[in-house]
Every structure is written in C-alpha cells, then in structure tokens.
C-alpha cells in the first residue's frame, strides 16, 4: 500500500501548501545561483560560476512543512538536476561484526556523507549511480528526472548524526569545505525541532553547524513557518476526494489542527482513519454528496429544531489523531500567569499541563524557576519563599535513577507554584518575555571548568608533590594565585604563580557564545571592581582585558 503523503504529494509548485511568497523566494534564489539560468534571469549578464559566497541556502522550519518537497518541485520545474543526499540504509554494526561476509562492509554514515560531498564536487558530470533511489549501490545518490538546462542543485536533507565533539568537528569541516568550494548551489534542510531542546546534544551540534556555516560562507537562511490548519484541511479534502471517500469537514479540520502544522502527519492520520471505510461510487460523487449535505444543513437551519443528531464535538478528533501538544511557551504561560477561577482556585489543571507539555522535569522546573520571580508582586517575599521551597522539594525528588519519577517532581514544582502564589500582582504583567534558564549555561561552564581544574590540579601536583583536594584548590590555592598574579603584574613580575592557574576558564556568557572567554568579574576585593584574571594565558589575554575595559 502506498502512503498517501507520497501518493498525494504536490505535483507542481502551485499545489504546495507553503506560503507562495516563500516559494518565490526559494525559486529566485535557485535561479540567481545556477549559471545556466542566470542568462535568462536577467539581472546578471554573464554566466560565470560564482564560487563560495552566497551559494548556500538554509531552509529551516518544523517537520513536515514541505521544505524538501519545495526544492524538489522547483528543480523539476526549472529543469535542474537534483543531487540529493538522503540517509542510506545503514549497515548496523553488529550485523557487520557477525555476518561480515554477507552484509556490505560497515561504513559510518558520516564517512558516506563526506564521500558524497567530495564526489558531488569533483565528478559532478559523471553519472554516479543508477537513477532513482533503489539499489544499495546508489549510496543515497538519486537524480531528478529531467536534465534539460544542465544545472545542478545539491540538496542535503538530513545531516548525519554525530557523536562526540571531534566527529562533529569533522562534519563541520567537511561541510564548510564543501560549501566553500562547491560548483553547485547547495540547499540544506534542517528541521527546527532539534533547536527547541537546548540540552539535547544533537540539537546543540546541529545548532553549531548552522552557526559555523553562517560564519564561513554567506549563507542565506529561509524559515518556513508551520502550515496553517485551514491549508492542511484543504489538502486533506483534496486527498480524500481523489480517494473517493467522504469525510466530514469538521473531522478534517480537527485532524488538521491536531497535526501541529505537519502535512505529512495529517495525511497519515487521515489514511489511517479511512482504512476499510466504504468508498463513494463514481467520479465526483464525494463532491456531490458534500453539496447535498450543505443544502441539508441550510434546510435544517431553516426548519429550526429538526430531529437530527447534533454534530460530534470536535475536541478529541477521533481515536487516531495525535495528542494535542503544548509548546513550551504556552505551558509556561499557563503555569506562571496562574489564572484563577471565581472561587480562587487555579484555572488550569496542573496534571494536564504537565502531561501535555512533553518537557521532562528538569527542563520544566528550570524554566519555571528562571521566570517565576518576575511574576510576583513587589513585596511578596513570603510567597517567593514558599514557592522556592516547593521547587527545592521538587529538585530533591528528582534525583535520577531511583525514587520518584519525573512527573511527580514536576507536579510538586508546578502545584507548589500554583498554590504558593496567593495574591495577585499589583502591577499588570502585560506582555512578558520568557527568559531561557541561565542554569543551562551555568552547568555547561561549570562542567568545562571542572575539566580545566583537573588539568590544573595535575600540574600543581608536580610542584606540591602530592594531590590536593579539589575543594582546597578552589577555595585557597587558586584565589591566592590569582591575587599573586595580579599583584605580580603590578610589580612587573609576571611569571609569578601563573603556571598554577588554569589555562582556560569559562563563564556563563562564554558558554552562550556572547563574549570572550577567560575573564570573570569576581574581583570585588579592592572595592573598585578590579578584574582578576582567572586563567593564565600570557600577554595577549591581558590585552583583551584592556580592550574590554575600554569599551
């Protein structure tokens, strides 16, 4: 059985449910970048190959909003060849290990990706494999159907997952090299889903890919918004009509709403619901029935109070739709604004919010914790005290591995907030920007600093002939060596104590990528806000410090 999202995929760019403006943007970009098309594109006279800058387009957007489809269709319409990286069927490691003779040799996905990149640059004119996506020999290379104008667009749909910093760096390097030197325009599709979860490693890495691409080449970013529910409903209607099924409009729109702007998912849901349903007979039967229904409705309204059953409530959208999700901002809003009913009870059910939020307890609590002081009145320190005590309870329950699971602890936190906050704030809150928890950056910086300290203590043990506990290193040795280095710098004696200090030091800001690394303002010592260097790095860092102070 073919899946409907494949079967009913749009055939032309005008059928796309992406906003036409965005489609036009991508079309213009491709046109201006492919040399053979630029002649008739007009603006640029010559057709020389522009290498490097501005040859990368980054398409982002939620899943299933039609990013890759748009590129595919546009290429087909413009008569361009599409060189597409799509993830090959992986050879699993244990398959390779135990049946080495049978399965194809194990090649890591990343290695294959790099191969793909290099082949697509060097030997772009030679057909690289059988056309179409079938066959293991194709190694994920698939061509578009018609090659008329002779231009080529490289589409990278799904970056290989990388594990560990070094592998990731390799990926970034190869990608950057490729994007810098590619003869063909490159389109990179990334789902924004990864970006939401800041502590997810893969998302973090992907974020860094994007950032390094933005830095190295002039990369145009185009964000597709999620497809709106009415649009999806229209697509669904078209699909169901061509399948000769009659579906209630209301049901269609409820499917569309619950799909969160994911067309593919909506079509899958529809297909699933209609499995085994009877079809209407004949071409156009569905449309006719719909018309009849509409007339009936009008008549019913005219008749005023006929004996017909009321339409089913649209809430659940039947047994086979997706659960409604709340995104993070909505969840936080529901919790923090804490609307109350007439009797003074919280309006929103904490359990329901927690269930719908899909955030794990550490994340949810961090967000609540970061933002809650803003929602309290000026002198409501008692409430503050109660709420933070509940949050501390929640954090104590959250101990990973044993005891209570995640949900009870987030419930304790959320309900603690709801019931701990008794008064209404005196000022109106209005629009409020939620802050991202500082805790994430703090944790990251702290972990990196602890690693730095490991090396520092190893260096130090060479001098002290023994190991010092980390506590003493932080509490006594390092502060004094900082002071020594500072005083030494004043006295012109630079070398003093510098070899003890860590070589690098991280701050909260440096982890967010905001400022230069290496200096923290802890020096309240002399009262004049003097900055003590936290790390030994030689002269150039000293200069950096001066720069900062000048600014």
């Amino acid at each position: 059985m073919r899946e409907w999202w494949e079967k009913h995929a749009p055939r032309a760019s005008k059928d796309l449910c992406v906003a036409p403006k965005k489609v036009a943007e991508v079309r213009d970009w491709i046109r201006s970048r492919v040399p053979s098309l630029r002649a008739d594109y007009g603006n640029h006279g010559g057709g020389g190959v522009v290498v490097g800058s501005g040859r990368v387009l980054l398409l982002t957007g939620p899943t299933g909003c039609g990013k890759s489809t748009t590129v595919e269709l546009l290429c087909a319409e413009l008569g361009l060849r599409l060189l597409r990286w799509s993830a090959p069927t992986p050879t699993l490691w244990h398959e390779h290990a135990y049946q080495g003779d049978l399965a194809a040799g194990y090649v890591s996905k990343q290695r294959e990706f790099e191969e793909f990149l290099s082949r697509s640059t060097i030997m772009s004119q030679i057909p690289l494999g059988p056309s179409g996506s079938g066959g293991g020999g194709g190694k994920g290379l698939a061509f578009g159907k018609s090659v008329r104008a002779g231009g080529t667009v490289v589409l990278i749909d799904d970056l290989p997952a990388t594990n560990g910093f070094q592998k990731h760096q390799e990926l970034v390097d190869s990608l950057r090299r490729f994007c810098g030197s590619s003869r063909h325009p490159v389109v990179l599709c990334l789902s924004t889903i990864h970006k939401q979860d800041a502590r997810d490693n893969q998302g973090y890495y992907q974020d860094r890919v994007v950032r390094s691409l933005e830095l190295s080449t002039e990369c145009k970013v185009c964000t597709f918004p999620a497809v709106t529910a009415p649009r999806i409903a229209k697509v669904l209607e078209r699909a169901s009509e061509s399948e000769n099924h009659y579906v209630d409009r209301q049901a269609l729109s409820s499917i569309a709403e619950s799909s969160n702007g994911d067309v593919r998912n909506a079509l899958c849901t529809l297909q699933f619901r209609l499995v085994g349903e009877t079809r209407e007979e004949g071409v156009g039967a569905v449309r006719a029935k719909r018309k009849r229904k509409r007339k009936g409705e009008v008549e019913k309204r005219a008749g005023a109070g006929g004996g017909m059953a009321p339409p089913p409530p649209s809430g659940g959208a039947g047994p086979c739709s997706r659960d409604r999700e709340l995104n993070r901002l909505h969840v936080l809003g529901k919790i923090l604004y804490n609307k109350r009913t007439e009797e003074g009870l919280p309006e929103n059910d904490a359990e329901e919010i927690v269930r719908m939020s899909h955030l794990d307890a550490p994340q949810l609590l961090s967000w609540v914790h970061e933002n809650f002081p803003d929602f309290l009145g000026e002198d409501a320190i008692e409430e503050c005290d109660r709420i933070s005590a509940y949050l501390s309870d929640a954090a104590a329950l959250m101990e990973d591995g044993s005891g209570f699971g995640a949900t009870p602890s987030s419930l304790v936190g959320v309900m603690g907030y709801q019931y701990g906050r008794v008064t209404k704030p005196t000022r109106s809150l209005g629009f409020h920007q939620m802050r991202r928890p500082q805790e994430f950056d703090v944790d990251k910086a702290r972990t990196m600093n602890l690693i730095e300290l490991q090396y520092t203590s190893a260096r130090r043990s060479r001098e002290s002939r023994t190991q010092e506990p980390r506590g003493t290193l932080i509490a006594e040795v390092l502060p004094y060596s900082r002071a020594l280095a500072c005083a030494g710098a004043r006295a012109g004696d630079q070398t003093r104590a510098l070899n003890i200090m860590p070589r690098g030091w991280h701050t909260q800001e440096s982890c967010r990528g905001m400022s230069k690394m290496g200096f923290v303002r802890v020096g309240v010592g002399d009262g004049d806000g003097e900055r003590l260097p936290m790390a030994a790095g030689g002269g150039d860092q000293q200069e950096e410090e001066d720069e900062i102070e000048e600014v």
């Binding site: 803003d374 000026e378 104590a497 802890v522």
Partner: protein
C-alpha cells in the same frame, strides 16, 4: 617558581615543628621498616599531607620523592558493559596516590578495580629489591631492613560513598600482605567503623594561632623578608588556623610593603559571599532575590562547591543578624543543605534558603521596627 607553601613544606619527620609529638611517635613506629595501615585526620591545612609524605620518606628514603604525575585511564569490565574511568595519580616506585572521590559515582569501581590491580602487582623495583635482599641475606645474614610492599595513599576517604568504603574494607583485608594504605580525611565520623578499626588513626589537629604566627615568621626569615610581629599575628588570626592559608596570605602580602597596617587579602570568593549576605539583608523582594541568584550562579560557575557556599553564607549571615532569628536561619540552612545532598540542582536549594532567610529577616524587622 613554586609557591612558598610547597617550597617550605618539611620533608622529613625530624624537620617537623608543628606536629613534633605525633611525628616522633611515627618515627618510632616506622623504625622497624614496617607500617600498619594509617589514617590521618584533621582539618584542612593542618598538615596531614606533610606528615604522610614525611612518613613515606622515612620508610623508603629520599628516592620516594621521584614522582610521576599521570592521568591514567582504567578500563573496567562490569557484568553488563565496559566503562572507562580516568583518574589523576601521583606515584613513585614505592607508592601511589589517588583521590577516588573525584570519580564521583564511579568511586566504587575505582576502589574495587584500580586498587586491587595496583595492590596485586608489585612494582618491578620492589621485587628486584626483594631478590637483592634475599641474596644479601644469604650471603651475609644481614636482617632485611626495608619493606617490600607498596603504599597506597588514598585522599578524602570521608568523601567516598558507603559502597566504596565497603569495597575498601575488603581490599584492606585481602591484600594486606603486599600493600599498605595511608588514608587522609577531614571528617573521621564519615569514615565507616570497619575501615577505621583496621587503621592506626593519627589525629592532626589544627595548629594554634601562636604556632602559625611562629611559622609565618620562620618562613619569611627563610625568604629573607622581615615580618613584624603584629602582621604575623594578624595573618595567624585570619588564617582560620590553616597553615596553607597562612602561607599563601604571607606570600601575597610579601609582594606589598610588609608592615602592620597592611590589609590582608582574603580569597575573592569569600568576599563575594560577604557581598551576597549584605545584599540579602539590604532588601527583601523577589527582584532582589533574582539579583542574588545571579551572584550565586557566578559562584557556581567558578566551581565553588555548593556546600561551601552554604557554610560560608550562613556564617556571614549569623555575624550580622539578631540573636532571636539565628536559630531559624541555621535550621533552614540545615534543611536545605540536606535536600541538596539528596537531590539535584544546587541552585534551587540555595535560592530556597535565601528566600526563606529573606522572609524571616523581613518578618523580624517588621515586628521590631514596624
């Protein structure tokens, strides 16, 4: 250039001034060339490590000071999977020093595997020495003088989990033929009974302020600096009876002019915590709580342990508030510190303590001043 703390650390047991009495006892104990398991306990900066190193030298002679510092990786086969534990070690041919507490939750494996491995295999030199001794023995019937076992120095036993301490106890029994262990810790009551009873416990008490002030003048004399009596006393008074801190203070002070009026440098994070305490008592609003949170974050980023922050903050607060609310503050601190040990996210508990303190203080100031 090494710090004065390291430079002037006494190397032999007879050089020790501060703990001369336990040093002499140790000397007698080790004179036979054999040693029991030892456990040095006492506050930070009291001289546990110095005693330990000096005892090692007494046992093995000056060649024990040829040290290697390594970042070793051990692969440990668990029933279900294989894990790698990385740990820094300081070792000579005769001894190995580790701090298994740094391995966090994996300390059990460290203790079980690494120590077992180390204790089982004797170093080649000691085997060689043994053979040599046997030959000498046969030739001239001289009594064997030096021991043929390795010494394992384990730091911070009190920070080890109870699992790890249990493992340690078994290791102690099993390999006592080839291996002696010297423990150091600050809190003896956190070391479990069986481990304690298998060792000779040596109490290393914090030196008195007079002793420290003498030490300060002595070290300054060795560095050819003149420290006035008043300044030495001042350093001793603010050193919290820790020799390490006193010497670090002295070295920092020696860069300036050494006279009695000189301001002593306290560790920057302590000043920072003082600032936090002041901030808490200045204004009790959610907004200020948020500011305080930022400062606490800064301390955490700089790797100051959360329990140290708790301790110091309570001390600073107690110095400033009225007697009537001291009890409440301490009890709150105890509650939240305990919770912090149970759970995750130290900032939640620190902040809860700060909020509670603010509310206690506010209530008190309203009832007193209206």
């Amino acid at each position: 250039m090494s710090l004065w703390v390291d430079k002037h650390r006494p190397r032999c047991l007879d050089q020790l001034r501060v703990h001369s009495k336990p040093a002499r006892q140790l000397q007698k104990l080790l004179a036979g060339g054999d040693c029991p398991h030892l456990l040095f306990y006492g506050p930070s900066g009291a001289g546990k490590k110095t005693l330990c190193l000096a005892s090692l030298r007494e046992l093995f002679g000056p060649s024990v000071e040829k040290l290697r510092t390594e970042q070793k990786t051990w692969q440990i086969q668990l029933p279900s999977r294989k894990i790698e534990v990385e740990l820094a070690t300081v070792s000579s041919n005769y001894h190995l020093e580790v701090s298994p507490a740094d391995a966090g939750r994996r300390d059990v494996h460290v203790v079980q595997e690494i120590i077992k491995e180390m204790a089982k295999t004797r170093s080649s030199t000691s085997v060689f020495q043994q053979q040599q001794q046997q030959q000498e023995q046969e030739a001239s019937l001289v009594k064997p003088a030096k021991c043929a076992y390795k010494v394992l120095v384990i730091n911070q036993v009190d920070k080890l989990s109870s699992h790890a301490q249990h493992a340690l106890r078994r290791t102690l029994e099993k390999y006592s033929a080839t291996c002696r262990v010297i423990f150091t810790c600050t809190n003896l009551s956190k070391v479990m009974g069986p481990v304690r009873s298998r060792c000779v416990c040596v109490r290393v008490k914090a030196p008195s302020t007079e002793e420290i002030s003498e030490l300060v003048s002595e070290v300054a004399g060795k560095e050819r600096k003149e420290v006035p009596r008043g300044l030495a006393n001042k350093i001793a008074a603010s050193s919290e009876r820790s020799m390490r801190r006193a010497l670090l203070m002295l070295e920092t002070a020696s860069l300036g002019k050494l006279d009695e009026s000189q301001e002593l440098q306290l560790p920057d994070w302590e000043l920072f915590i003082k600032d936090v305490a002041q901030e808490i008592l200045r204004e009790q609003t959610p907004k200020n709580l948020y500011l305080v949170r930022g400062k606490l974050y800064e301390l955490l980023v700089n790797c100051v342990p959360a329990d140290t922050i708790f301790c110091k903050l309570v001390h600073e607060l107690l110095r400033k508030v009225d007697d009537t609310i001291k009890y409440d503050i301490v009890s709150t601190a105890a509650t939240f510190e305990h919770r912090m040990r149970l759970g995750t996210k130290p900032i939640f508990h620190l902040e809860a303590f700060v909020a509670k303190t603010m509310s206690i203080y506010k209530e008190w100031s309203i009832s007193n001043f209206g």
